[in-house]
Amino acid sequence: MSHGFEINPAKGPEVAESGILARISQWMAIFNEWVMLVSTIALLGAAGILTLGVLFRYFLKISTDWQDEASVFLLVGATFACCAYVQSYRGHVGIDALASILPASVNRIRKMIVDIASFFFCSFFTWKSWTLFHEALVGGQTTSSSFAPPLWIPYSLMAAGMTLLSLQLLLQVLTHFSRKEVAP
């Protein structure tokens, strides 16, 4: 766990070199920055709610049975919302032992295949997340606690976050195809 410590932090999000893809990548990067801002507020909100919970319980003797679920919703939302931002910096860690062994041309193909496979998995997950959200919304599903907030709230955050992640991966896949071969 590096707790925010990065040995070689990326200078910026990965974007296509030129053309329409570059423009979409830039829009996506700007959108991700806004999402990060909202997620920051959610993270701070969760910390604040938990802190207030302690203070309310001991000083005002007020029960805060809603605090855990509100914090969970905020933190789950922040986690999924930031997935695309993290992917834009290639921040989801993987085992890169092969990358240092393979020749550059093979490595390029490996990266492309990995991105395509990641895109398919995340798209499938996105589809199932929206299905889950729809079922929770239509069925009026709630959590099992006495506070019983509707489950469509966290499901929608998960689905929206995974949609963004899938779009980010699609952009990265398309960027592979748009890249011109550089003569050796």
Partner: protein, 451 residues
């Protein structure tokens, strides 16, 4: 198809996908989804998102981003350098005191920030140049900081412990307390080695000087007045109070672990704003961005690891593997040794988070059947994973040291960590022979487990 065949396919498939370089979270999720599609009823695929959400929506697990926020707030300030300076000033007169001060500063910072690489970076940035200026060999200085940093995943609040508590269904409070004894043991062992190595290097420096050679900085006397020493305290005390306050809130019954995480994060943000004036949006943005990047990456791995474990359990792979291990009738200690070697090998490729969540369903039942206390094992496993932070091929702390002290050759950093890896192995043996090192403190504070 037999469970064994499915299990082998599952394992081999996971290795292939992971070594392709696919992000660990997506790799685990993809393999789990593929096996769900092939070997589980068709309706199972409809539940993958629900599974991931339900596993992730645990308030204990979700305290991780908040502990990371607390660590990032402290880690991004000058708290580490100030802490180091204060400890150094007060331990200056002890032989080898500079090295010991580095170990103590690492332990205190690790307990506040909860991060190994952040501890290495914060304390090492100030400690390594100071040690080298005072004549310490580069390898010794680098090894000391790399090893001191590993205390970050052992001393509470440790994210590794949180994951183990969830995976093994053990009390988080008890696990946190169980890490303190071994943490103190490692501090003592590292300090003793620092004092011994200091004497060796001092003697060599003295012999060279007496033989007409150059006078090493080792032989210079550093004098600090009481005023010098007390000047350091006002900046450090608030963080020590934060550390103590968080522990009192947790163990005094005032707050749950997740509330402690929230409270700690808010207090850390307030403290860095007041003490270090880190309150401007651009300063605070760095703290939150790095927190969200790290916690998102980590939480996604956790969510997918739990899905992976669910599939493994549904297909009876984990149960069969556990039964197979039990049927081998290994002696208690051979079983433990085999499992720990397995953990070390996995540590070559995987972060602790994945190792714990992926292996827990397989290794914990045999260990429980053999009569091991799982809280105790959680501590032993954590110390073993700590070793992985300072030995190749992964050795994250080695690369952090290389980053903050680029002029020290990698070879020297690696050789500098070797004595500490051996000390950690010795600590594991001690904890095995005297389990009370880990279990005494939680038993004292929370009562004997199961009674």
């Amino acid at each position: 198809m037999s469970v064994a065949t499915i299990g082998i396919l599952y394992g081999v498939g996971t290795l292939i996908v992971m070594f392709s370089g696919m992000p660990i979270a997506f790799a685990l999720g993809s393999v789990a989804t593929l096996f769900m599609a092939i070997f589980m009823p068709g309706s199972a695929l409809d539940t993958i998102t629900q599974n991931v959400y339900e596993e992730m929506a645990s308030i204990t697990l979700l305290s991780i981003p908040l502990f990371i926020l607390k660590g990032a707030a402290i880690g991004k300030s000058r708290a580490g350098a100030d802490l180091y300076s204060a400890v150094h000033a007060w331990m200056n007169k002890i032989p080898g005191g500079l090295g010991i001060a580095n170990v103590f500063a690492c332990a205190l910072f690790a307990a506040m920030a909860g991060s190994s690489p952040a501890t290495c970076s914060a304390i090492g940035s100030a400690g390594i140049p100071e040690m080298r200026q005072r004549g310490y060999s580069a390898g010794f200085a680098a090894g000391l900081i790399a090893a001191g940093g590993t205390l970050g995943i052992l001393l509470p609040p440790s994210i590794t412990m949180i994951l183990f508590a969830v995976a093994a269904e053990q009390s988080l409070g008890r696990l946190f307390l169980a890490g303190i004894g071994p943490g103190v043991l490692l501090v003592v062992l590292f300090s003793a080695y620092a004092a011994w190595q200091y004497k060796r290097e001092y003697k060599v420096a003295l012999d060279v000087y007496q033989g007409g050679g150059i006078k090493s900085a080792y032989l210079d006397d550093l004098h600090l007045t009481l005023a010098d020493k007390t000047r350091m305290l006002p900046r450090v005390l608030p963080f020590v109070i934060l550390l103590t306050g968080v522990m009192v809130a947790l163990y005094g019954g005032y707050a749950t672990p997740s509330e402690t995480a929230g409270l700690g994060a808010i207090l850390a943000l307030v403290l860095v704003a007041v003490v270090y004036r880190v309150w401007r949006p651009k300063d605070v943005k760095i703290i939150f961005t790095s927190t969200l990047r790290e916690s998102t990456m980590l939480m996604l791995i956790i969510g997918m690891s739990l899905l992976y474990s669910y599939v493994m359990s549904y297909l009876h792979i984990s149960q069969s593997a556990a039964e197979w291990i039990v049927a081998m009738h290994l002696s208690k200690w051979l079983l433990l040794a085999t499992i720990l070697v397995f953990v070390v090998i996995l540590g070559f490729f995987l972060p602790p988070v994945s190792i714990i969540l992926m292996t827990a369903p397989i290794i914990l039942p045999p260990l429980k059947a053999a009569g091991f206390d799982l809280v105790w094992f959680g501590v032993v496993m954590t110390v073993v994973m700590e070793m992985g932070l300072i030995h190749p091929p992964v050795g994250l702390n080695i690369f952090v040291i290389k980053n903050i002290a680029p002029d020290i050759p990698l070879k020297d950093v690696i050789w500098g960590t070797v004595p500490f890896v051996l000390l950690m192995m010795f600590a594991v043996v001690l904890i095995c022979v005297f389990p009370g090192i880990a279990t005494w403190f939680p038993d004292l504070v929370m009562g004997v487990a199961g009674k």
